[in-house]
Amino acid sequence: MADDTNTTGHDPVDEVDASAAPIDAAALAETEAKHELLEGLTEKERRALLAGDRVEALSEDEIRSRLVASDSGDTLGHEDLVQGMERELSAQTQVIDLLSDQREPEGLNIAKVLDSSVIDLSMLMARQVHDKTADIIGPKASAERREHVKDEISLPNAKAIEMSVKSVRQRLGRVAITGSSIFLGIAFFASVRTTALCLQAAGEAGDSGEAARLTWLIIMALLVSVVGICNSMLMAVTERFREIGTMKCLGALDQFIVKLFLIESGVLGLLAGVFGSILGIAMMYLVNTMRYTFSFADVVGGFGGILIQGILLGSILSVLAAILPARQAARMPAAAALRSTV
């Protein structure tokens, strides 16, 4: 049917183009400029940008403004792509309608079309490289190639941090319990330091024996915190056996698991350090203002130092506490992913 009506070998669209204004240098230059604008875009971006319109149909300014819009926002996203394709498709449908003179009552269902066209499974697997596996890994592969395999499995630090932060955010309740021991430890540390600071400002210096006893107490408190956090994390590791096993099935190396757990613990310690220090400083400042006379300006300078020390101590101790659990997690076999019970 289409063959009958299209014997001239021209698209109707082409004919319209041909009968358009005669070619002049200015128009040619403009077309060139427009194409230049689109240069460097991928086919997909170009389609989304044009949203079904032909380059010729748009003015240079219009293209420029769309480009600006796409730069400023995420306009070249999936939605635009679908929209662009939808419009492109409806334009195509019109052409088909013209040719066949048979109008579909409903038009085409975009979802269906997407289902059959975009989701081309052969395309999906196109990345499948037909290099023989035996040429890449195993004893038959060259030593160089085998060495290169190490670089082909990676977990970038930025991604690991992103994953860990997400994990902490999602398990906030659990994390709060795990982190409470280090939080309290840091709060104790900060309160002792703040009290010392306040006493000094009030001119009531304590004796050196008192200071030594307090140092001992701080060390003991922090040690207890570390043991507490270590214990909680060991529990968390056994609970997350399936998650860890699955990651390994997906290609995670032992060191990725260690990295994830250490960062997670570091984030936890950081949070505990911040809040613990603030709590300790605030409480002891209030308590001491009631007992002694000193001005806020005399002590506020020292608060920053205590805060920084608290944060550093919190994160470092937390990471140290996680070393054992993280190694335990890394030792979890990939087959754990298949276990149905703990």
């Binding site: 999906l124 596996t133 499995i153 997906l250 990939a334 298949l338």
Partner: protein, 261 residues
């Protein structure tokens, strides 16, 4: 017996895609696995040799305790055999170091689990792209491919849902999309329909079959779901740590029609 085959040029390989289907993708030779339980030794596998061709859809069937899961674990590189060898794409698994094993799991094998095993704190899309992160794809590539895979399994509209917000069938479809992340040669599915109702299970089986037929990925599934029988090219029945029998679909078809009469 020499296992060295002449490697054709890559271009030739691409052309002869049809011929590729006659290649072995998985071979096990006299696999033996012993578990030591207290005083006694349990022989889970007593010498299993299986050959799987590229592009096949295989079901491993057998009762619990038959050694089916043990065999499955060996093929997936999740456990080491006591004796015998496993070849994946002509590579002896026992000879691989940790990096190579991770590489193999990341790019050549896609795992699907009975319990879906999505990472609970990540969205569906993040779950699908996780293997691509390990494989070093760029953020853009990950997003593009992740979306395409989610479309393929019919969940293009649930990209940002957490696993907890999805039904069992949807979670398993996300897991299937994830298993395809790096275009593997093999998909290993451990009781993929075990935690699903009849209808959803059927949908998952159909999806796996479609992927197998359209993309040529080899599917090996440990199951005791008889719905799998209809779609499998071959069924390997395991019993007491040995292969009981291997049936092709045509043989099974005859059997099923006989049963009908």
């Amino acid at each position: 017996m020499s296992t060295v085959t002449e490697a054709p040029a890559p271009s030739q390989l691409a052309e002869n895609k049809g011929a590729l289907t006659e290649e072995y993708i998985v071979r096990t030779k006299d696999l033996i696995k012993h578990f030591i339980m207290g005083e006694e030794t349990v022989e889970a596998l007593k010498g299993v040799s299986v050959d799987v061709f590229r592009g096949e859809y295989i079901s491993l069937m057998g009762p619990s305790g038959s050694g089916k899961s043990t065999l499955f674990n060996m093929i997936g590189g999740l456990d080491k055999p006591t004796g015998g060898t496993v070849f994946i794409d002509e590579v002896d698994m026992a000879q691989l170091d940790a990096y190579e094993l991770a590489w193999l799991r990341c790019r050549k094998i896609g795992y699907i689990f009975q319990t879906f095993n999505l990472i609970p704190v990540m969205t569906a899309l993040e779950n699908v792209t996780l293997p691509m992160v390990f494989a070093g794809l760029t953020q853009d590539e990950q997003m593009e491919r992740g979306r395409m895979l989610m479309d393929t399994v019919g969940l293009g509209h649930r990209l940002n849902n957490k696993p907890g917000e999805l039904s069992g069938g949807q979670q398993q479809r996300v897991a299937i999309a994830r298993s395809l992340a790096n275009s593997p040669s093999i998909i290993l599915a451990d009781e993929p329909t075990g935690n699903l109702d009849l209808k959803t299970g059927k949908e998952i089986i159909e999806l796996l079959r479609r992927l197998n037929q359209e993309s040529g990925v080899t599917v090996i599934s440990a199951t005791h779901d008889l719905k799998m029988v209809d779609v499998s090219d071959r069924i390997i029945w395991i019993r007491d740590g040995l292969i009981d029998r291997v049936q092709t679909r045509s043989e099974l078809g005859d059997q099923l029609t006989e049963m009908d009469h």
